[in-house]
Amino acid sequence: MVGTSAYDEMHGAAGEVREHYRAFADWLASTPRDRLAQKRAEADSLFHRVGITFAVYGEEAGTERLIPFDIVPRIIPAPEWRQLAAGLRQRVRALNAFIADIYHEQEILAAGRIPPEQVLCNQAYRPEMQGIDVPGAIYAHIAGIDVVRAGRGEFYVLEDNLRVPSGVSYMLEDRRMMMRLFPELFARHSVAPVEHYPDLLLENLRSVAPAGLNDPAVVLLTPGANNSAYFEHAFLAQQMGIELVEGQDLFVENEYVYMRTTQGPQRVDVIYRRIDDDFLDPLVFRPDSLLGVPGLLAAYREGRVTIANAIGTGVADDKSIYPYVPEMVRFYLGEEPLLSNVPTYVLRRQEDLDYTLSHLAELVVKEVHGAGGYGMLVGPAATREQLAAFRARILSAPERYIAQPTLALSSCPTFVEAGVAPRHIDLRPFVLSGRDITLVPGGLTRVALREGSLVVNSSQGGGTKDTWVLE
């Protein structure tokens, strides 16, 4: 698994084109380069006009950038997808069972499978959630599970995103763009559709509404137009036909949640929130939050409103909890995990810390609470100075870090300046949990556009690809 030779999604070891890429490779070979370049420019201008942009934090206020879109799709054959999907369902079921357990009996802690302080002292653990029953005992209604492929083609889960995972709008827009630019490709391939994701999402949200409602009102709660993922919030609300609300649009009265409308107050039953826990209710969490709704938690406790994802799901996707997920699968489901974890060194453990410090140049070190590729060290790519600086940071607070071997992420041909060349990719499938567990085939493929780079995050120069599951 550790090593430099990456698995190539399109070509086998001898350079031959893999079966599921053959039709695409023929098309690519017969398509003039300037037509591809022209299509690529067309894609850029379409994305700009449609306004599919994201804001970059730390840059001039209001800066909007495009996420680069690559026209070479990432193709997954059906049998491979079936295995992956089964593993994802299993994993998400276990994660939901874990969160429910933590906020009720805490049997897994009592059984000694996870050190209690690891969970209860975690800053993502929300004591306010203790004892609250949520519909269907579902907490992570929408999960984005980051999956990578290593040297021999085997899948690993890199990260579970159970708070407010984003990126699904790019999955949908990338598909729309590919169909618009290259309709002939879809005639040659039988690509499993993903366009019905918003319908599945809405159905999923309605299925977890408070009991006894015929026609629950679902809204999407956004921090507002300056949030980096605002495009996605607006897009999903529109696709589902539900109101896109900000905190100021909602209020709580007698433990019911209402929105302010031109015809007076209207009841809200399910909130698909895209705001972090900390900002949801200034009466309970951060008092300075202007994004949230005062009194929301009180209404939630009374079971008058469903919040998706539930408050406190971070306790299960934290990087320091991640090493225990296979254990959760065994404990709650009595099954062996179908998907593997990446071996992880938890630096609060002395032996892991010692190992990491002596192998820093080979490892990837991440902040336990970091996201978006900020605050991480990729050992093999780091300079001597960067290594020294990171070593000092680790030593000052080892409990804030984990380390993993540098995975040779699989690569996929990608259209770059010099032509078509391999670039490293990952995959984020979106798993919906409600009455059932559903997922659309594929997910969002992110690609590290810089040669040799392993960082796929959009804030760090990553792009996206359309993801095809062949039927």
């Binding site: 449609v50 306004g51 649009d249 302010r260």
Partner: protein
């Protein structure tokens, strides 16, 4: 519909309409400044325009002389002037962005690309300023067209048109009032070629020159110009036309607390419906227009209170 959404839609359309009317006002002044006047008259025209939209003081803080170039730079392209065409198109786009889920994608894309083009135009004004004014008007026509042609005629649609007509009523009355400031030293009598050109430039600025010819088939007189722009129901930019359409859209979105607003809008509409130009001139056109702008402002404030900021705390 969310009150905040209605607010964004209402202001989105007001800002587009405002940008268009600014372009019209600037265009008429620009045309007039090409006529053989002395510099003083040209300056008075621009100062009158700045006064009427309430930006003369802000202008004087930034620029020394009232020249066509300065006035256009300030009112068309100035990023720091919240009342410039540049700022209006940005505001229209920002409001649209906040509710893009409520708009059709064509509507949003049209407003977004208008803003992207404006950003480029703002960097280099170019010598063909008349083309720029044409472009602004075209984009506004396009905006109305895309709303008309693609959007569901629901509450959102009514708020968009309510904003459009209230803004247009306000603008037409101000455009007409510029003429008052300009003619002030000359009294009110018609005649003289300079005066003719001023009135015809004004008609051009509200796309009413050909309409005037068709309706009156006669000399251009101030009284008829005023009649056309205040009282004609079939003239799309007249005060009567704007108010009666605003009233229709208001009635379509009425709620439990909007009764008094409906009454005031209806009263204003009736006064335009049954009003006579003789009475308006007896009161004084300027005085009449000042009153009118006040009543439109009152309606705008009442709409905000009744619908846009919901009083449910």
């Amino acid at each position: 519909m969310l009150s905040r959404t209605a607010d964004h839609l209402y202001w989105m359309s007001r800002y587009i309409e405002r940008a268009e009317n600014l372009a019209r006002m600037l265009e008429v002044n620009y045309r007039m400044s090409l006529l053989p006047h002395d510099a003083q008259i040209v300056e008075r025209g621009w100062a009158a325009t700045l006064t009427i939209i309430g930006l003369l003081d802000a202008f004087r803080q930034r620029y020394q002389a009232v020249t066509p170039a300065n006035a256009i730079a300030f009112m068309a392209f100035d990023r720091d002037n919240p009342g410039s065409i540049y700022s209006c198109l940005r505001q229209a786009r920002e409001n649209a962005r906040a509710v893009r889920g409520t708009l059709t994608s064509e509507t949003w894309e049209m407003l977004n690309s208008t803003w992207l083009e404006m950003r480029v135009a703002g960097v280099r004004p170019g010598s063909e300023i008349a083309n720029f004014f044409e472009w602004v008007k075209d984009r506004s026509h396009l905006a109305r067209g895309v709303v008309q042609g693609t959007m569901l005629c629901d509450e959102a649609w009514h708020f968009i048109w309510l904003g459009t007509y209230l803004e247009r009523a306000d603008s037409t009355s101000r455009i007409l009032d510029v003429k008052y400031h300009l003619l002030l030293p000359h009294g009110e009598q018609a005649g003289g070629s300079a005066d003719y050109y001023q009135w015809s430039a004004l008609l051009h600025s509200v796309s009413a020159f050909e309409i005037y010819r068709r309706v009156y088939r006669d000399l251009i007189t101030p009284r008829r110009v005023a009649e056309l722009l205040v009282l004609r129901d079939d003239m799309p930019r007249s005060l009567r036309s704007c108010v009666s359409r605003a009233y229709t859209h208001l009635m379509a979105i009425r709620n439990a607390q909007s009764g008094e607003t409906e009454r005031r809008a209806g009263e204003l509409q009736a006064s335009l419906h049954f009003g006579r130009i003789e009475d308006i001139f007896a009161l004084g056109l300027h005085e009449y227009l000042v009153q009118f702008v006040g009543r439109i402002r009152d309606l705008g404030e009442r709409v905000a209170r009744d619908f846009l900021v919901s009083a449910t705390d």
